[in-house]
Symmetry: D2
Subunit: 189 residues, 4 copies
């Protein structure tokens, strides 16, 4: 029975690497996988999913107003996998929900932003997915990380700003609530 999966995790929790491994496994079994990634910037075209550990794969970009149903018709496959699924629109997640009556759909993404607020795509996935699974990662202190803290160019914690501000290792750190709180209190002094 086909399902809609949402595998969520913090920044640097190896979501993309996990995605690429699962894709590899499906392909070894002879299944065809369509790889999607929401475009943040309208100029992006065909693109690539990369993991820090060194894996990568070409993917189809999904723009804000794209119909996923239409992309799927143009790129038929057995299974759909989506990276950075937090950036999907609500309407796009609704489409994935319908597709997931017939094909497995596996979405990877962040749950919440740097202010601990759900993203639009994540919120709709939490409402509709039949399987929710955390991809765990550790804070520097060894505890499990649950917060995506944002930092400026000087490594200073940022607590106000726009929800979306693309960046990787240097701009975001996955932290536990204890370390995050200490850091926030320092900044606010």
């Amino acid at each position: 029975m086909a399902k809609l999966y949402f595998k969520y995790g913090c920044m640097n929790s190896s979501k993309s690497a996990n995605l690429l491994m699962i894709k590899h496994n499906y392909e070894e079994q002879g299944f065809k996988v369509l790889l999607l990634k929401p475009a943040i910037d309208v100029r992006e075209g065909k693109s690539v999913i990369k993991s820090r550990v060194g894996l990568e794969s070409a993917c189809v970009m999904v723009h804000h107003l794209d119909s996923i149903q239409k992309l799927f018709e143009e790129n038929p496959a057995d299974i759909i996998m989506v990276d950075e699924a937090q950036f999907l629109t609500e309407a796009q997640v609704d489409e994935l929900y319908e597709i997931a009556f017939h094909h497995n759909v596996i979405c990877f993404g962040l749950l919440s932003d740097f202010q601990q607020r759900l993203f639009e795509g994540s919120k709709r996935l939490l409402e509709l997915a039949e399987s929710l699974q955390e991809i765990k990662t550790v804070c520097k202190c060894g505890r499990r990380a649950t917060i995506n803290a944002r930092f400026d160019g000087n490594g200073k914690l940022i607590v106000h700003g726009e929800q979306v501000d693309i960046g990787g290792n240097e701009k975001y750190k996955a932290m536990c609530k204890y370390c995050y709180k200490s850091l926030k209190e320092e900044v606010e002094e």
Copy 2:
């Protein structure tokens, strides 16, 4: 290290029974547990958490404008447990998050309503809880249930209406998306 837990599940997934069992276990170990339940009706005072399987326990009601911090000061305990946590306000979940730096807080509740939309309390718990766990239950067909379908007095599926309409076994059924879709298509014909 103290944590904020959110254990979510559909109607009739034995959330209250699970809560009462965990409370029993904590108390056997000598811990004091404060049991809370959001009041839907402002007239409710001290009340009871009941599970269909036959367990029950007195609890403190939380009204819409109550401060949980204040309730906790009036009823000191080692651990806080909350039933029907979907009905908490965002501000109340924020208070539980702060308390959970020092005391374990274990919340049980629904994820989404009969139209597959998150409740206010559930949304905030998904953003803040450090541990998310599904309490699984089965649909009549044997598949896992993920949807809380609402029915009227004649057993007919209802797809429009207010988010909150209290009722138990007779008014709600936990269903899988396949059975729910079939039923919805019948109703809409």
Copy 3:
């Protein structure tokens, strides 16, 4: 698709209460459940599964040389549930594996004895079950418990003896490895 499930947990982790709740849920959905429990003592006949929290239900006893297939033919049902499954023989778990091609079989039991050795039934369930799930419980210190420590009538830790020595709350305690080690070092001094 029918499956063989093994839900394992320490002493006092509410395995029986969980079993009785799941049974209740299945029965509410109209399924018939056969409840089994291995007999330790050959004189036991029809008997009862009881949980400390106050639930109970009649069950069919399984003796060491019983064929579960035969018991199932005499007591037809949609689903089989087994409590104290660690005491099943290897041959009986093999029978459950075959039945689980057609009917869900849900076994609850301990993983290991007071010396951290697998029981016969648990070992075979780990080899054959398609779904393994831990039922968690806490040590007195608040950490997760993983060891079933045995105590004598004076509350002194016992580290040698027979694998099976039936007893409940007073004879066994679920402990974490840290507390268990401290206690063991005290005893061995």
Copy 4:
């Protein structure tokens, strides 16, 4: 608090890739990881953990009579990770259990052999590990795989033989019990 973890999965479930990703994450956070792998062949020395998806890393080989405590003293680290942990001896797992009072130890391996029997290392890990987690993989039919089926050079299922017979993609296939049973019945006709 340090823990002993056992992450088990079938052949080709990406255990090594998962291990290498987690190692990468720890190292990014500044932790030093000691990578171990049991030697099947006594002639093996320093060696490599490779995943089919393309990742690899040098590791220290553990021979049958090696003391892991001694290897750890020679190669100090914050965390120990072990691949192919099913091939550890019972004594070696006992050593890891002791080390895991002070350092996280994360073991990856198979649960059971091609005849659905636990390996020596896996059995001891199930008894001692504080965290058991399945790394899931799918059968060709789409169901979850739980059996490591062995095949000969002509692709014919083998049901008798030695427990250990090293080989990869070509010699072993992860299968669900339904597909495995059909195949076995064909072979036995």
